[in-house]
Amino acid sequence: MADHLLEVRNLSVEFHTAMGVVKAVRNISYHLDRGETLAILGESGSGKSVSSSAIMNLIDMPPGRISSGEILLDGVDLLKMPAHKRREVNGRRIAMIFQDPLSHLNPVYTVGWQIREALTTHGAASAAAQTEALRLLTRVGIPEPEKSLDKYPHEFSGGQRQRVMIAMALALRPDLLIADEPTTALDVTVQAEVLALLEELQQETGMAVLIITHDLGVVAEVADRVVVMEKGELVEAGTVREVYKNPQHPYTRKLIAAAPGKGKMHSPGARGEPVLSVREVRKHYGSFEALKGISFDLMPGETMAVVGESGSGKSTLARILLRLDEPDSGSALWKGRDLFQLSPAELYKLRRDLQMVFQDPTQSLNPRMTVYQLISEAWVIHPDILPKAKWRERVAELLVQVGLGPEHMGRYPHQFSGGQRQRIAIARALALEPQLIICDEAVSALDVSVQAQVIALLDKLRKDMGIAFIFIAHDLPVVRDFADHVMVMQKGHVVELGTVQEVFETPRQDYTRALLAAGLDPDPDVQAANRAARLECAS
């Protein structure tokens, strides 16, 4: 019986909500052996995290209920164990790391305290725990480990916090590590480092890793086997290569098809008169220099992708171009007029031409306004665009244009899904009939399949209406299929600027190459090759 380290059998979990019983996972089974890495792949709402919560006894009951199934750890059913025994399993035999380490670390205790607690909870003496905590922090590569023991979580960067989480999880050398979207919030280069660290540690300790992710690239990089989940059901299982090369279930095929970065790249024509011409824009906050002289040209109807990691200044650039923030110096000529010199009245007129779509549609739509109010607000502010009698008709048109329906007009944003909300935000931007839309990470909060739909929508708008886009992203594959030109930013500088083909196929700068190399390809073979190349580079 006890062949596998972990075996989940016919697990069903349901939640009693006000809307009735929701079956979060239905009858799912998978297993995991020592030293092996299994990925659970799924989009939001697929129930991919539920089984791991059941393993860790993190489901609140009620409202949750495990209606059937067994979870066997070395052949012993965890679900039949008394509570105190299960608590001993947690942390000692199975440990877990989470997506957002900032909220998952207790903000009011030092990281040293939190790592020590993992040890002392399971019986370690406090002096020994102190030494061990220091060793662990050193091992996961936190700089100045001794000092860092006394620091609080908010004093670290995102990647460092995830390393701290890993140190804490591995304190007792567990047999199984569950990693729930461990790198989702991280920059690509940091993601590669964290995944590499996880693999190293796995080889050192021989533990099994259960990784939960929405990202095919992560699966290709780290996993041996993968199970795919959709709406609470396990739809496909197999080795990573099998599943990628020969997907059986339509959903898996859809997921693989939606992965960005495989389409034909644009080849922009000759450049003429730019519609927007940015020169030497600088901005600092206190002693921090966010932008150190940015210059670029944008042609009418063209898409300029701005790619960079956090802290590169790409969002600051967007804010400054829209005059949500004032630059220290520099100019931005829009059809020959400097955006930064406009009077408030001129700026008000210009707002019609320049619009923005924000990262998180949940936050960029006023929760207390209906869709009709949200979209027609544009005409309340700029009454000369459209007479009031035609508002309803036009809102309906715009909704159809972005793939929603006129019947959605009277509803509130919270009644829509994330992708639908972003469509509303796009409709709102379109209401002003702009010539340039700046998208600040407009698809990064969305599921991969939804991401592809929204990008297709933007691409269609560009073709049909000749709108120019500045498309800000942290993820290179996303911009590959959509951009004409790519600008790579790092720490306030433009590192590289060229056509999409130049940047992707013949990158000139090391940083661009590093970014490209850190990006994970969904194809396990391609990814394996990339990885070999990367290791060669490193050695």
Binding site: M56, G91, H104, V108, E117
Partner: protein, 304 residues
């Protein structure tokens, strides 16, 4: 950390100065302080004399300067009734009030945290519902009404406890008991709400994944985070206790600063009244600083 405290101290100091200014103008509110400070039946000559002695005929700014000088040196004039410095009279009474407030607040805080936390841990359970009902009623009961009901029940009918005065420990039970109820009701509700959100937070999930026991999860992981909003409410309640004790003190004949003020107003002993206001305000000011300090102690993110 120190810079945070310093910044808060400077901001509070500005408030304190504003307070002193307002107290001055309060005393000039009726236009003629002589009418306020002297007994009602004082003759016109006496009033004139009083004005000259106290320089009330000088320009307002000169008077204000003198007043500030007096306040800084702690000179609030004589108590007319007791023929002693007003400040001494007030401080004597203030010690009583401070004890009363401090003991009550400690009991309230301790009890509210335990009850609120346990209610939150089993939200929706029997204990939670019981404590909800109790705290809801507690927060709604006017203390003066409770005071007289308590006197009828415990002093008159049962004759267990004395009605007024300060002779023994028994004398403290009723005032503390009555003052306890409202802040307890309010703080329990805040603790419960704050604990429920802390217990559903991501870091508690991490602690459970680490195998930490329920006790430390509630009282080490969740409580310290949940205390942050609670601290503010505790401060508000302590402040309203410092100045709201006036009624309970009057009813129970407790010789605190509240009773002193009411007595002094009735006796037109205005020097004492002004001194009492400033001393109470100063106490609230110090307490607000302590609250800020406690906040910074609990939350490392504030210190930066």
């Amino acid at each position: 950390m120190m810079s945070f405290i310093r910044k808060r101290a400077v901001a509070s100091l500005i408030s304190l100065v504003g307070l002193i200014v307002m107290v001055f103008f309060l005393s000039r509110l009726t236009g003629d302080p002589a009418a306020l400070f002297l007994p009602v039946e004082a003759s016109a000559e006496i009033k004139q004399q009083f004005r000259e002695i106290h320089g009330l005929n000088d320009p307002l700014m000169v008077q204000f300067g003198r007043y500030v000088g007096d306040v800084v040196t702690g000179d609030f004039g004589e108590s007319l009734r007791k023929a002693r410095p007003a400040l001494d009279v007030v401080l004597e009474a203030f010690v009583w009030t401070l004890w009363l407030a401090a003991i009550t607040m400690s009991l309230v805080t301790g009890a509210a945290i335990v009850v609120g936390s346990l209610a939150a841990f089993r939200a929706g359970g029997f204990f939670d519902r019981l404590s909800s009902v109790i705290s809801l009623i507690g927060a709604a009961v006017p203390d003066f009404w409770l005071a007289i009901v308590a006197i009828v029940v415990f002093s008159v009918n049962l004759a267990w406890l004395p009605t007024s005065g300060t002779g023994s420990l028994l004398h403290w039970i009723l005032p503390i008991g009555v003052l306890f109820v409202r802040p307890f009701g309010i703080i329990v509700q805040v603790v419960r709400g704050s604990m429920i959100s802390a217990l559903s937070s991501a870091y508690v999930k991490t602690a459970r994944a680490k195998g930490v026991k329920s006790g430390p999860i509630i009282f080490v992981h969740a409580l310290r985070n949940a205390m942050l909003p609670v601290i503010t409410v505790i401060g508000d309640q302590a402040a309203s206790l410092l100045n709201g004790a006036v009624i309970v003190e009057t009813i129970f004949g407790f010789p605190g600063v509240g009773k002193l003020m009411i007595d002094s107003i009735l006796q037109r002993d205005f020097n004492v009244v002004l001194a009492a206001i400033l001393v109470t305000a100063l106490a609230i000011f110090v307490m607000n600083l302590l609250i800020d300090f406690a906040y910074a102690m609990l939350d490392p993110r504030i210190r930066h």
